[in-house]
């Protein structure tokens, strides 16, 4: 049966050529009542069941089968490649701002290029190149940033003049252009045929493909996938992959235990025309005009042009179960502005005859990045969906990473930016999704500037102090649904409105944050840090300590009251999480992690803690309000409020104690600040939050206390060379690579996760090294500011990228943090990075094509630390070397 199926697939005309097959497939139930045997019976079990026969499902099947998995079943409710994939515009473009997306697109391009040869299925692959146009200088900067990323990946690209655009594409009106990005290797494909080609190859490798088979729900037992229920019966399986595209959300919610996949469909329109009188060459490059919100590609001698309008039309908010995407109504009035932009860009096509206006729903996600990975609540339940209308560009790479994830337990690249676990249940509200995707879709072509915050779906999780802080001029950003203060605008100080504040240069809050930083250095500031993820782990016996000693690299067997900074590492020694753990008692621990760790860390611990009813893991994030008191006078404020001595002798650094503050008792005070400055974090049961805040502010007045926000915190931590998880640290970074060997206790007397890998690194050296760069010839007022992802050059050769950056008000210089690799000059092979290698180079940072000299440092400036406390474990990275 599989052989017959293969034949059908490799023939593009297969449906017409095999009416018998179609009839039976169309009514599987009735065919079972006839004497005729069903061509393909559903197997009772399989190792992997993939739901969805679009580009994602077929790509996952293709890669899984390539990696040697045999027992794979792909189920498609309608026909293969009949959903969004069928309507996809077929543009494979690598010009992406997010590095992991760029890598996926690059891989997809290479994969599709050889697919026809591999499978014999015509994919329509044509290397046309793409030109992204800039109508403004700011747009050109963003294109130059992308060009920098593409260059260091070895993808040919060029920033070109408007004149050159005209040479490459004679129909383009260039009078309003300032420049463009040309990527000559970008391509066009027929996405449906690519999908069929992948299915053909997969099917050759033994994947069973069943069309006209709907998955009704996935069964989960004890937190593990056990099988799927379909309209043709049940299939038991170990792994389930939800590639249901815009139906992924509904499918995730169909079972008893919902899997939250936050995506939402919007209508997406593009236009097809009849050929030009002199048909357009099929090799003409694809045009992307983000300022005009449109893309234009050649299509059968005419054009195909669509875009991302300002006023998208979300649909299926209530869910609608239809077998295939119906061709929804054309809406010319809605398309009008995009048509106008098209005619402005290509006036010559005015006389072209319209063939069709295609309305094809695309699914969008809350942060414009796709969703992949394993469900935090159901092991073996994988997801690959929410492509934000770049499915064909990502399809190959995304399928590959997900296949690796299933087979190896982890993909070969850091996919945290795409990980399903970056979302929680809170992003799963239909209202939230509907509102958010209406913001996301236009954002596809909006200018992406640093420090952009979403405006919809806000004020969901807030601190009890929200209103108080807001009234004092707080400006907010959002992380994992939680509102956090960026900075406080002093009274009478007006900032630019949102749209005008977009800049790649010095932002308007520069002086405001400067004065907050100064106050942290000289007096005392309060930052509300309630968003941080807070867990408590306790046990009746030693289970808690034993488990944690295995899951964390530092030694947690410390005296009660001590706080330990430690990584939560994977088998390869990479950071799954970076946290601070306080030992509250012999048998209980309090764990602080970054805000976006709430789902990931929970799943990681749940999956690895022993199944022991005497060992309790509790998420107490919501129970505490956290106030960070930063600055030399924090000691004075707190001791006056508690009538307890808070000096270093009585309350050393990295210490934790429950005490009273004002009238409130049971406040958990920790002598850490996440900045390297002296101070404390107060974990306050929420009902006391307002009281303690008021007390602190009143008492602090004579010490010059003021509110501060995260931008000040950021500047402080970066100038101190503090790495943050999620930004600098990821699952592919070990403590050895970022100078945190001192937070690893290889000899703590028991085995821990990642130990082996770290031991090996200790012996053989590291292949990348976290380094701090001080920009030397950078003019803060006039030059483009670094952000993150800027290429680092050592002696003129590319060695890595920055991961974060900030202006240091103390050094009066920009500081970039990033990783330096050592690529062999001839082979490109990665070599060990030594201290000498770092120290002996001349460095430059590339900001949008402009290179700035930078001084590399492996240790922070000692002059920045005015106070030192506990000798044995100072709260900063690598500092004890001094």
């Amino acid at each position: 049966a599989a052989g017959m199926f293969l034949r059908l697939l490799s023939d593009i005309q297969w449906r017409a050529a095999h009416p018998r097959w179609r009839r039976m497939a169309g009514s599987p139930r009735s065919s079972s009542t006839t004497a005729e045997p069903r061509p393909l019976a559903l197997p009772a079990q399989a190792q992997v069941v993939i739901c969805g026969g679009g580009i994602m499902g077929t790509s996952v099947a293709y890669h899984l089968s390539k990696m040697g998995l045999k027992d794979i079943v792909l189920l498609e409710q309608g026909r293969l490649a009949a959903g969004t994939t069928r309507f996809c515009a077929g543009i494979v473009s690598t010009a992406r701002p997010v590095s992991i997306e760029l890598k996926m697109a690059h891989y997809s391009n290479k994969l599709y290029q050889q697919l026809e040869q591999e499978t014999g299925v015509q994919t329509g692959y044509t290397k046309t190149g793409s030109i992204s146009l800039a109508q403004t200088q700011d747009r050109l900067i963003s294109l130059k940033r992308i060009a920098s990323s593409l260059n260091v990946m070895g993808i040919p690209c060029e920033i070109i003049s408007p004149k050159k655009v005209l040479q490459l594409h004679p129909l383009i009106n260039i009078h309003d252009l300032v420049g463009a990005l040309y990527v000559p290797e970008d391509a066009l494909v027929s996405s449906a045929n690519v999908s069929l080609a992948l299915a053909t190859a997969a099917s050759r490798n033994g994947v069973q493909i069943h069309e006209r088979t709907s998955v009704s729900h996935v069964t989960i037992q004890k937190g593990r996938v056990t099988g799927v229920e379909t309209d043709r019966g049940r299939v038991q399986c170990e792994y389930f992959v939800n590639c249901a595209g815009q139906w992924a959300y509904e499918l995730g919610h169909s079972g008893e235990e919902p899997v939250h996949i936050p995506l939402h469909a919007c209508e997406h329109f593009y236009l097809l025309t009849h050929p030009l009188q002199e048909p357009l060459s099929s090799s003409l490059p694809t045009i992307v005009d983000p300022d005009g919100r449109i893309y234009i590609r050649n299509w059968q001698g005419g054009i195909l042009s669509g875009g991302f309008e300002k006023n998208p039309k979300p649909l299926f908010t209530e869910g609608r179960n239809q077998l295939e995407i119906q061709n929804l109504q054309e809406d010319w009035d809605h398309f009008g502005p995009l048509l106008g932009a098209l005619l402005r860009r290509m006036p010559a096509v005015e006389a072209l005859q319209i063939m069709q206006l295609v309305n094809c729903p695309e699914s969008f996600t809350p942060d414009m990045r796709c969703i992949m990975g394993e469900s935090p609540t159901a092991r073996g339940y994988f997801v690959l969906a929410g492509m934000n209308s770049a499915g064909i560009s990502y399809g190959g790479g995304a399928g590959k990473y997900l296949a690796e994830w299933i087979v190896n337990g982890y993909p070969s690249e850091n996919v945290w930016p795409l990980d399903l676990k970056r979302f929680g249940t809170l992003q799963s509200s239909r209202t939230f999704l509907r509102h958010r995707v209406m913001e996301v879709m236009p954002l596809m072509y909006d200018l992406k500037v640093p420090r952009w915050d979403f405006q919809t779906g806000r004020q969901l999780r807030t601190s009890p102090l929200y209103d108080r802080l807001d009234a004092q001029g707080a400006r907010w950003m959002e992380k994992h649904g939680f509102e956090r203060v960026k900075y406080f605008v002093p009274p009478g100080n007006d900032l630019l409105d949102l749209d005008h504040s977009k800049t790649f240069y010095k932002p308007d809050w520069f002086d405001i944050v400067g004065s907050e930083v100064k106050c942290c250095k000289e007096a005392v500031c309060v930052i509300d840090m309630s968003s941080f993820t807070k867990f408590e782990i306790s046990s009746t016996g030693d289970q808690a300590l034993e488990s944690l000693q295995y899951l964390f690299s530092n030694d947690l067997d410390v005296p009660v009251g001590h706080v330990v900074h430690t990584g939560m590492l994977n088998e390869k020694g990479g950071y799954e999480n970076d946290c601070s753990i306080a030992r509250l008692s012999k048998r209980s621990f309090f764990m602080i992690s970054p805000t976006d760790q709430q789902v990931h860390c929970w799943a990681w611990l749940k999956n690895r803690l022993p199944d022991d009813s005497n060992l309790v893991l509790e998420d107490v994030t919501w129970k505490y309000t956290a106030l960070n008191l930063i600055g030399p006078r924090a000691v004075d404020v707190l001791s006056e409020l508690s009538y307890a001595p808070m000096t270093a002798e009585h309350f050393p650094s990295l210490f934790c104690k429950e005490m009273s503050v004002g009238y409130a008792n049971g406040i958990r005070v920790m002598s850490i600040t996440h900045t390297g400055e002296p101070g404390f974090v107060l974990y306050i049961p929420i009902e006391y939050a307002l009281h303690v805040y008021n007390e602190v502010m009143n008492m602090g007045q004579k010490y010059g206390i003021r509110n501060a926000g995260y931008y000040a915190l950021r500047s402080l931590r970066i100038e101190k060379f503090f790495a943050f998880w999620g930004q600098d640290l990821d699952a592919f970074t070990t403590p050895m690579e970022c100078g945190r060997e001192f937070q690893v206790k290889l000899d703590k007397g028991m085995e821990f996760l990642g130990q082996e890998a770290l031991l090996e690194q200790k012996q053989n050296g590291v292949y990348k090294r976290f380094t701090m760069f001080i920009l030397e010839d950078h003019d803060t007022d006039m030059d483009l500011w670094p952000w993150w992802g800027e290429p680092i050059f050592r002696n003129g050769r590319y060695v890595g990228k920055t991961t974060s950056s900030a202006y240091s008000y103390t050094l009066e210089r920009h500081v970039c943090l990033g990783f330096v690799h050592h690529f062999d000059e001839k082979t490109g092979e990665e070599l060990v990075v030594t201290t000498d290698f770092i120290n002996q180079g001349e460095y430059e940072i590339d900001i949008a094509g402009q290179r700035f000299q930078a001084k590399a440092k492996l240790y922070p400036f000692s002059s920045l630390f005015t106070q030192r406390r506990r000798k044995d474990e100072v709260e900063l990275s690598g500092y004890q070397r001094e």
């Binding site: 048509l339 005619l343 005859q353 319209i354």
Partner: protein, 458 residues
């Protein structure tokens, strides 16, 4: 240079006026819901006038547009005076007596008209006494003539028109000791004005028209579409009956010289008008009045100039043609407008634009290409038009303004083109008249419920 949309709007809206018939007891029992009016000058100063008033001693409402020529004096006088002449013509004998007695004994007069005026619509204070005296003479004659019959609206309208024109002529012949007034009455008589007046009383709509302004009824068909019904005849060379009438009134020897280049005696566009004594008086009378008149009049080449082939005056009359129409529920609105509008827009388009505006049909049928051959450019034009239609509808709160916007700004596709609108409105004074005429529009909206109820009673 271009005007911005807000600048365009401030020009278009400078003269707009709206009146809503007040409700009693939460109900509007009038067959009129209200009216919108507006005017856009091309001449400086504008030579068009408009009037609207409610008759207080009889039922009904009067609305009229007046298009002046050779100056605005005549149109101004007619706009102030004509409705009083009509109202008086309609008054029953008892009321006339009552008024006369009040004037006689110095008591307060019963108010005859309630005016609905834009602040820019002025009345001449200086002439009011003179005008009043003429009007009083008219009603005194009506009292003397008391026929005892109920007043016929058609007759009243015709009498009022003729009487006012006669008074204008007489006042100029008699003159006034006050030199300002003396010059004024002469200017009124030597300039001219057409008039198109509607009298609405319940379901009875009378249009009295003199000249080439026009009245048009907007009718909504059963399928919701809009059609136009003319309620006046233009008195100009394009109207065969009118040419015939003029020819009948003069000897055959003048046949060839009566209408030349589509103008009366080769000079005047409208074939009926107030004032214009140069087409009414004998040559002797004209010469005498001009010679004895003030110097300004004497210096004016136009007034001294006698039309060629001037043998058997009068050549011109102010007598209106009156059309009576019984309002039906499908009659939704009435447009009275001077020829400035009708030169640029077909009445069918006027009916559609106003109809769609008044019924708020902003939601449009979606466009489908289907199997038709449509180019991207055509589609773009179509979509732009639809957007413009929606946005201009939302911009205007006044149907007359909306109509002017279309009249001035319409491009070849029949949609408002901001660029064109901006160009037309920013023309310098001396050029404006070459591209467009003064436009004055009154849009009266009818109350279909009340009209329906009238119909059921009958």
């Amino acid at each position: 240079f271009y005007l911005t949309p807000p600048q365009v709007n401030s020009i278009l809206k400078a003269n707009e006026y709206s009146f809503k018939v007040p409700e009693f007891d939460g109900k509007n029992v009038s067959s009129i819901l209200g009216f919108d009016s507006n005017q856009l000058p091309a001449n400086a100063p504008i030579e068009d006038r408009r009037s609207a008033a409610t008759c207080l001693q009889t039922r009904g409402m009067l609305l009229g547009v007046f298009d002046g020529h050779a100056g605005c004096a005549c149109a101004q006088a007619v706009s102030e005076r004509l409705f009083y002449y009509i109202a008086v013509s309609l008054l029953p004998h008892e009321t006339l007596l009552e008024i006369e007695n009040a004037v006689e004994s110095g008591r307060a007069l019963l108010p005859i008209l309630q005016w609905h005026k834009h602040p820019n619509d002025y009345f001449s204070k200086e002439a009011s006494k003179l005008y009043f005296n003429s009007l009083r003479t008219y009603w005194q004659e009506l009292i003397d003539l008391n026929s005892g019959e109920t007043t016929d609206v058609r007759e009243a309208l015709i009498n009022a028109f003729k009487r006012l024109d006669n008074d204008i002529s007489l006042e100029a012949q008699v003159g006034d000791p006050n030199s300002f007034l003396n010059y004024l009455v002469l200017r009124v008589a030597f300039s001219g004005a057409t008039a198109c007046v509607a009298h609405v009383d319940g379901v009875d709509l009378h249009i009295a028209n003199t000249g080439d302004s026009r009245a048009m009824l907007g009718v909504q068909e059963e399928d919701g579409s809009w059609s136009a019904v003319s309620l006046s005849y233009d008195h100009n060379a394009q109207n065969e009956n009118e040419v015939e009438r003029v020819k009948m009134e003069h000897p055959k020897s003048e046949e060839k010289s009566l209408v030349k280049q589509d103008r009366l005696l080769g000079l005047l566009m409208p074939f009926r008008a107030f004032g214009d004594v140069k087409f009414k008086w004998s040559i002797e009378l004209q010469k005498r009045v001009v010679e004895s008149g003030p110097d300004q009049l004497n210096d004016n080449e136009y007034t001294k100039f006698i039309p060629p082939n001037y043998h058997t005056p009068p050549y011109l009359t102010a007598e209106p043609e009156v059309i009576h129409h019984k309002l039906r529920p499908q009659d939704k609105f009435l447009v009275l407008a001077t020829d400035g509008l009708w030169e640029t827009m077909h009445r069918q388009d006027v009916a559609r634009i106003v109809g769609e505006y008044l019924t708020g049909v902003h939601h449009q049928q979606p466009i489908a290409v289907g199997g038709y051959k449509v180019t991207l450019g055509q589609m773009h034009g179509l979509l732009t038009e639809r957007r413009a239609r929606i946005s201009s509808v939302f911009e205007d709160q006044n149907a007359a303004t909306h109509l002017i916007r279309h009249a001035v700004g319409n491009n070849e596709f029949g949609t408002v083109d901001h660029e064109r609108l901006s160009k037309m409105l920013s023309l310098p004074e001396e050029l404006a008249r070459m591209y467009r005429d003064d436009i004055t529009i009154i849009v009266v909206q009818f109350n279909s419920h009340v009209i329906g109820a009238y119909q059921n009673e009958e």
